[in-house]
């Protein structure tokens, strides 16, 4: 570290993004039974950035998120959260508690719990066993739940079982779960699948409003949606970065056009 680094010590719980980037993926490789799903992938996400990741089916987008969140271990490579947190050494809950939240491609909510309980469970805070036995919702937490329900438009579904929600509502609920988790880095896998045009616009608004204070990585197939939110787009293909730049750059890139037309 450079001189005087101690003066810039991150506050507790904050990832050390003193070198601009919050996420470092370097030289990652993953193979499933010999098939290379991730192939020498190198990618940096800046602190406060909103990055879109696109790519054809099977490009390795979800697998990349699996690596970041500890679900899949790479065969080789590095993955760092800020300067100090080696993601490859942490378990899934440790990564979550370090401040990385994730929304899954297939919406996964706790089906037999109510909408509000889903938020309660996802909320940031002490997650130990003995603490949970005695935990009560504080006024502050209750307020956060109410505010979040308002944001995701599910206030009227407070007591409803999450399993009974529509596909789009489950998407929203999962986004809400992500919000109450208060992560520094949000990984959002295909958030608008199954949403109406209006809902898509609200999602776009929400995600852009999060950027700045948070870093957001969005994987999405819907190009209009990507265009509406992205400054910077990364194209993944066969497990590595094919192109990176603004939406226009990327869409005019010859290799990208080939990949998408060849589909």
């Amino acid at each position: 570290m450079s001189e005087g680094a101690h003066l810039r010590q991150p506050e507790a719980g904050q990832p050390d993004a003193s070198h601009k980037a919050i996420l470092y993926l370097e030289g990652l490789n993953v193979s499933f039974d010999g098939f290379k799903a991730i192939n020498d992938l190198t990618l940096y996400i800046d602190s406060g950035e909103l990055r879109c990741i696109i790519g054809p089916n099977g490009a390795g987008k979800t697998t990349m998120m699996d690596i970041i969140t500890g679900k899949t271990r790479p065969n080789s490579g590095q993955a760092w959260f800020g300067q100090t947190v080696d993601l490859l050494k942490l378990s899934e809950p440790e990564i979550a508690n370090a401040g990385i939240g994730r929304k899954f491609q297939k919406p996964t909510v706790f089906e037999s719990h109510s909408v509000a309980e889903n938020l309660e469970l996802a909320m940031h805070g002490n997650k130990s066993v003995w603490y949970s036995l005695r935990a009560r919702l504080s006024g502050e937490q209750q307020a956060l739940i109410d505010a979040t329900l308002h944001t995701i438009g599910l206030t009227d579904h407070y007591h409803q079982q999450a399993g009974a929600l529509s596909h789009g509502q489950k998407q929203w609920l999962e986004i809400g779960m992500l919000l109450v988790q208060k992560p520094h880095l949000l990984l959002v896998d295909e958030p608008v699948a199954g949403m109406t045009h209006q809902e898509m616009e609200r999602t776009a608004e929400l995600l852009t409003s999060l950027a700045g204070k948070h870093s957001v990585v969005v994987v999405e197939h819907d190009m209009d949606f990507v265009r509406s939110i992205a400054n910077k787009v990364t194209v993944l293909h066969q497990g590595s970065v094919l192109a990176e730049g603004t939406m226009d750059d990327v869409q005019n890139d010859q290799r990208v056009i080939e990949v998408y037309l060849g589909e």
């Binding site: 378990s91 809950p93 979550a96 899954f104 706790f110 037999s112 996802a122 130990s128 066993v129």
Partner: protein
């Protein structure tokens, strides 16, 4: 009040505990106050039989906690029950003192028979009631903790976990069969005389044990309901429904599993400890893998993830077992199997589910009539 708050949304539990309270009052009256010969008199053997059912019910509640709510199909809970039973049995053996066949005040009969000269280290302290009671909780608890820690940390789940719980109880069965283990081998521990100085043959002692079994069931039930109502309970159900999702919101799933598994094992141990003085014997047969499977069947028949269903299932199935093994001893196991198949096919929510269905129907009819 604390208890009413725990039972707030638990209709089945309220009814079950009310019936239990009634039974705990009525049975002593019918047994001790109504004179023998009167047709209302309840013979003591029946009291003890009921007491045995109550310990089974507590065991079933313990299994429902891990299976119904945490989603772990334990086919080894009989082992925790038996260990609790052995801890109690060891105390009762020491209580015999010099009244055994060999009249040896320092050694239980079977040790004299084996030509042992002194009490093995792991029998030390069991002459003290409080120590034995501590072991009733600690031994099953510790085994569950170590077993759970190893199994859940390596993320063994589903059928594989069920199989290793069967292996666990089977291994203990084989171990306890060996005379060298020092637990009475094949014969187990028996010929008990008294507990805390009270004769186990007396009506009063038997009644006390019956009432204690009922109180233990009520206490165990309330404890489990309290756990399930807490945030911890909601996390446990989340683990059952979407284990990996629970990890991604930051919960250490294996800690939760080990905790619940250990609590459940301790409850099973308490049930075993109350069972042994009432039936008068504990032997390695209690570790039989089949026993553990039977417990799961009680819970399935009563209705999973309701707690009171487990109580209902344990008592009804064991009552049926008492009746049918009296009539045709060989056919019971087939009947139990058939019952299990029928329930899984036609009553996936068990008897508790059936009750809930009727309630829902009645409600609809009343609404339609209105």
């Amino acid at each position: 009040m604390f208890i009413t708050r725990i039972l707030q949304n638990d209709r089945g539990g309220q009814i079950m505990l009310a019936v239990l309270a009634l039974v705990l009052v009525l049975v002593p009256v019918l047994n001790l106050l109504v004179p023998e010969g009167n047709f209302l008199h309840m013979p003591t053997y029946l009291v003890t039989l009921l007491g045995k059912y109550l310990t089974y019910a507590l065991l079933a509640v313990a299994v429902d906690l891990v299976w119904g709510y945490l989603g772990i199909l334990s086919l080894g809970h009989g082992a925790f029950f038996a260990l609790g039973g052995y801890a109690m049995g060891m105390y009762l053996m020491r209580q015999i003192g010099d009244r055994g066949v060999y009249g040896n005040a320092n050694l239980p009969d079977f040790m004299v028979f084996l030509n042992w000269k002194e009490l093995p280290w792991f029998w030390q302290g069991f002459d003290m009631f409080w120590f034995a009671m501590l072991m009733v909780l600690l031994v099953p608890g510790l085994l569950a903790f170590v077993f759970g820690w190893l199994a859940f940390r390596s993320r063994v789940t589903g059928v594989y976990l069920s199989i290793i719980t069967q292996a666990l109880t089977y291994a203990l069965l084989l171990a306890f069969f060996r005379n060298e283990m020092g637990f009475g081998g094949n014969n187990g521990l028996t010929d008990f005389k008294d507990i805390l100085g009270f004769s186990l043959q007396s009506d009063n002692t038997r009644m006390t044990l019956f009432v204690l079994s009922g109180l233990a069931l009520a206490g165990g039930y309330l404890l489990c309901r309290y756990i399930i109502n807490s945030k911890l309970g909601r996390i446990v159900v989340a683990i059952r429904d979407a284990e990996s999702r629970t990890r991604f919101v930051g919960y250490r799933v294996e800690h939760y599993k080990v905790w619940v598994f250990t609590v459940s094992a301790m409850l099973a141990g308490v049930a075993g400890a109350l069972y042994v003085p009432q039936v008068g014997i504990i032997n390695p047969g209690e570790f039989s893998p089949l026993n553990s499977i039977e417990i799961v069947i009680w819970v399935a028949i009563g209705g999973r993830a309701t707690l009171y269903g487990a109580v209902l299932g344990a008592i009804l199935v064991n009552y049926a077992k008492t009746v049918f093994t009296g009539l045709m001893p060989e056919s019971w196991i087939f009947m139990l199997g058939a019952l299990f198949v029928l329930v899984t096919l036609y009553l996936p929510q068990g008897l508790a589910g059936l009750v809930q269905q009727f309630q829902a129907k009645g409600w609809l009819q009343r609404r339609a009539a209105a």
